[in-house]
Amino acid sequence: MSERQARRTIILVPYLWLAVFFLVPFAIVAKMSLSQVATAIPPYVPVFGLDDGPAGWLAKARELSLDNYGVIASDRLYIDAFLTSIRIAATGTLILLVIGYPMAHAMARAPENWRPLLVMAVILPFWTSFLIRVYAWIGILKPEGLLNELLLGLGLIGAPLQIANTETAVLIGVVYSYLPFMVLPLYASLERMDRTLLEAAADLGCPPWKAFWRITVPLSLPGIVAGCFLCFIPITGEVVIPDLLGGSDTLMIGKTLWTEFFSNRDWPVASAVAVLLLVLLVGPIVLYQRQQARQLEAAR
């Protein structure tokens, strides 16, 4: 195999795979979002067939319409679900940053031989099942659960708190599940930081808290940006956490899509929701990619 052929294989194999299984499907989702639901197999019309010929395709293309988007725009339910998702993702990301930063900061300042162990300890829960970790919280948060037993036992509260099936429970689940995704990028950028800068600041009479805000935080900005995107984007489309911890009151858009698809079997509306969610997230996703590419270039 020559150098040229090697180059072609290395680029084309992953390119084709991702084009077929990641890019083309989006086009199909876009087309589906313009279709109508039908009681048939598959459950939508129109279905384009290879043997329809150009005239048949044209006739069927006329059946496509923006009706599903009209349905979504006129229904409070979908708009509320979008707004709730953004609110929970933004609040969750902020809490993650507030909890994750001190952890990452402490890890980066720990003795050098401790650091691999600490990183391992952050990653290990991530390797255990996501579903299990969310499930564990049901037992803790429910009215007769461990948290309420503990608080009642200590005499801190008079009656069990209703935490399960509220937005608070969803936020706890989100923060818990995504903590490693916040801590690791923060740690990576804090660990690389040149510590002599802080010594120089101290020598020049700068108090530690001021040095923290003016040196440490700006230098860890790439980690902050990466961590926030890595959490915010998937949380917005989260399905399992709101379903298990949120109950029926917390409507998030990922779960709405899920219900449209699996319970109502309305594939076109589910697709329209997916398209809107993608439009909402395309900005953050592009920014995240730029960041990722830039960091890898910088490490070169």
Binding site: I11, P14, Y15, F22, Y135, Y187, I233, E238
Partner: protein, 262 residues
């Protein structure tokens, strides 16, 4: 470092790790609870593990999940490693921006979107859903993770080794298998394991792309969890945690490097 900031660091780490580990520890402890009621401690017992062992549906699902994870991780490793090579070695080719977008986007893409779009692809091409559709779907969403892990290793790679081998008459094929691959092997193995666990763990994409007869373990657990918390589920979860822990520790001993961050 002054004592005050050392105290703050210790507090941050203690509270952080307590938050991360307590729920898992509680779950494991209650899997040995003799009582049917999940929150009442009725003494030590392993009866729920016996119940899991009797549950054929669960065992079948577990076996399917492991098969899907192994095959999809193998595909993801090949595709992801090639993508990493393409992105680090070839800084200029047509469509490179789109390509890097396609590699990184699946990492953050909400699973409902990936799952729905793959399902619609399979339906419109007329492929019956089952083992292979889940496997392909999993390979697609995990290969980006493999690419990132391998890329971080390739960046520090000393290319003069490859040039030396080529000067001495090795074909590109030989150079890859005898020089490049052995050097990046720890990252490739780490990438494989990451893809493997992500696949084991996935519920959403599997629910969309699977068919009758290929129900995975997370799907089974999910349908039981929605009906309520039972000690039997705690037992299954504990077994899964034990399996993953053994796997991770074994892998990090094997590569002697620890597993890199995602």
């Amino acid at each position: 470092m002054n004592p005050r900031s050392r105290f703050l660091d210790a507090t941050a780490l203690t509270l952080g790790f307590a938050f991360l580990y307590l729920p898992i520890v509680i779950l494991i402890v209650y899997s040995f609870n003799a009582s049917q009621l999940v929150t009442v401690w009725g003494g030590f017992s392993t009866r729920w593990y016996g119940a899991v062992w009797q549950n054929r549906q669960l065992l079948d699902a577990a076996w399917i999940t492991v098969k899907v994870a192994a095959v999809s991780a193998a595909f993801a490793t090949i595709v992801g490693t090639l993508a990493a090579l393409a992105l680090t070695r070839y800084l200029r080719f047509r469509g490179r921006t789109l390509f890097s977008g396609l590699v990184y986007a699946p990492i953050v893409m909400p699973e409902v979107i990936t799952g729905l779009s793959l399902l619609l692809l399979f339906v419109s091409v007329g492929i019956d859903r089952g083992f292979w559709t889940v496997t392909v779907a999993h390979a697609t969403f995990t290969c980006g993770f493999v690419a990132v892990v391998v890329q971080s290793r390739l960046i520090t790679f000393d290319r003069s080794l490859e040039e030396a081998a080529a000067d001495l008459g090795a074909t590109p094929w030989q150079v890859f298998f005898r020089i490049t691959l052995p050097i990046i092997a720890p990252a490739v193995i780490a990438g494989f394991l990451l893809a493997f666990t992500l696949s084991l763990d996935d519920l959403v994409i599997a629910s969309f792309t699977t068919g009758p007869g290929s129900t995975t373990l997370p799907m089974r657990i999910y349908s039981q969890v929605r009906l309520g918390v039972t000690p039997e589920i705690n037992a299954i979860c504990t077994l899964m945690i034990a399996a993953v822990t053994v796997l991770v520790i074994g892998a990090s001993l094997a590569t002697k490097r620890g597993l890199p961050a995602t």
